[in-house]
């Protein structure tokens, strides 16, 4: 781009583009210095300052190739980037590559997959096409083909109910990390995996932009993967978009006070050792946020609830190793690069124990799981009555009682 230096007309404020150079100014040393006396440098001239003929000439040659953008055209809602998606992808790939270790630490995700799929028992319906979004190592598929959670273990003689997989004809397991997704491909291959459920794996190039057709799924499940999504409102809106009308989304994500013990003790340790803190535990969505988000993107008949899973570890090193093996290490964009220094790790171990440690010498780690169910809007859905249509005054009702 060429900048046209123009002779400034008298009293013109906006076209004062050329700095006036005071050549006579003598600085303290012997050297002659050029010093701009005017600080109003405007390298990007407003259109009014350009000579008209140049402007027309430029337009006719440029217009065909370059797209002109306008300052007043907003480029959509800006989304905050919190997590480094490439780092997260690498961590997941590494987790999947070390299969034995990553199976050992699958306890959290397997347990959550079970609890998410348990919620299907409440919906008396079959789901021809189901999406498992952020499938990790197909934990949900494994939970679905496992024994039905409604089977009574006290009464084994009663006819056992079929596994939940019988309600689903096709399960699409989608994740960004192919190594993690195909980790158990030898025992759980693509295709028919049991009870008439067909498993299809799909690797997502960009997990925040779903490549699926609108209204193409009868159910969307998501277990312990949404806490790494940068643009959660956009993600939920896309989920709503791929669902058919009157179809549910059942999700579970880590949120709120997850790993608050580690967060606080690492903060104290860094504060004392280094005199400042850097983020080591992700910022997480709270329960209130999730309810609001689901409502905002248009889900109906919401259910949001919380449960805490507390896992005891022998020491903080075991906790951090397990998190790493799960592929859940820190991936915040603004984090301090490189490993945590040994001094901080040492201080963290002592503070964690003193602040949160159990009496038997173990340390607890809290995982707060936010469960959510939302339904895609449909005209034949039950709806709340409009405001002011109630006929019984609640106050009278309770006072009479």
């Amino acid at each position: 781009m060429t900048i046209f230096w123009m002779r400034p007309p008298k009293h013109a404020l906006f076209c004062d583009a050329r700095p006036n150079l005071d050549l006579n100014h003598q600085s303290q040393g012997n050297a002659l210095r050029l010093r701009p006396t005017s600080r109003r440098m405007r390298p990007y001239l407003p259109t009014a300052c350009r000579p008209n003929n140049v402007q027309f000439a430029a337009r006719s040659s440029i217009q065909q190739t370059a797209r002109r953008t306008y300052a007043f055209q907003a480029s959509g809602t800006p989304s905050f980037q919190v997590f480094n998606r490439r780092t997260k992808w690498l961590q997941k790939e590494r987790s999947g590559a070390n299969a034995t270790q990553s199976r050992e630490v699958g306890y959290l995700k397997d347990e959550m997959a079970k609890r998410v799929s348990e919620r299907l028992l409440d919906i008396k319906r079959n789901f021809p096409r189901t999406l498992d979004l952020g499938a990790n190592s197909c934990n949900i598929a494994r939970a679905l083909i496992g024994p039905n959670p409604d089977n009574d273990p006290e009464n084994p003689s009663s006819t056992p109910l079929p596994p939940l997989a019988s309600k689903i004809s096709e399960l699409v397991a989608a994740d960004s990390s192919s190594t993690l997704l195909y980790r158990d491909a030898d025992t759980l291959p693509d295709g028919e995996v049991g009870e008439g459920m067909k498993l299809t794996r799909q690797v997502l190039g960009d997990e925040e932009t779903l490549p699926f057709e609108p209204q193409s799924f009868d159910l969307v499940l998501s277990s312990l993967s949404m806490h790494w999504i940068n643009d959660l409102p956009g993600y939920l809106a896309q989920i709503n978009n791929v669902l058919k009308p009157d179809c549910p989304f059942i999700g579970a994500m880590l949120g709120g006070d997850t790993l608050f013990e580690l967060r606080t003790s690492l903060q104290l340790a860094e504060q004392e050792r280094k005199g400042g803190i850097s983020p080591h535990v992700s910022p997480l969505a709270d329960v209130r946020d999730v309810g609001g988000l689901l409502q905002r993107v248009g889900f109906k008949m919401l259910t949001v609830d919380v449960e805490d899973l507390i896992v005891d570890y022998p020491d903080t090193f075991a906790l951090m190793q397990d998190l790493q093996a799960m592929g859940e290490s820190n991936a915040i964009l603004g984090r301090e690069m490189g490993a945590i220094s040994r001094d901080v790790l040492l201080a963290n171990e002592a503070i964690y124990r003193a602040l949160h440690g159990n009496e038997d010498g173990t340390i607890p780690a809290t995982f707060r799981i936010i469960h959510m169910i939302g339904w895609r809007e449909s005209p034949d859905q039950p709806k709340p009555l409009p405001r002011g249509t109630g006929e019984i005054n609640m106050k009278d009702f309770f006072e009479k009682k």
């Binding site: 270790q101 040994r342 201080a347 503070i351 124990r353």
Partner: protein, 63 residues
């Protein structure tokens, strides 16, 4: 690429060494907990150095 199952990771060696210093660790932890709302740099430097000395001695003995 990945450590073999028999190989001990440095972090595990560190965990073992730290586990031998529980007395010093709890002293340091108590020092921090005494005033954890206003922690500043080197607030418990003395206690930390004791803990670190113990850890260094333990990690040398372990090898």
């Amino acid at each position: 690429m990945h450590p073999k199952p028999t190989q001990v990771r440095p972090i595990q060696r560190m965990a073992q060494a730290v586990s031998k210093c529980s007395a010093e660790a709890s002293l340091y932890g108590k020092c921090i907990l005494a005033d954890y709302n206003s922690v500043h740099k080197d607030m418990c430097a003395k206690e930390f150095l004791k803990l670190k000395d113990c850890y260094l001695a333990a990690s040398k003995g372990g090898k």
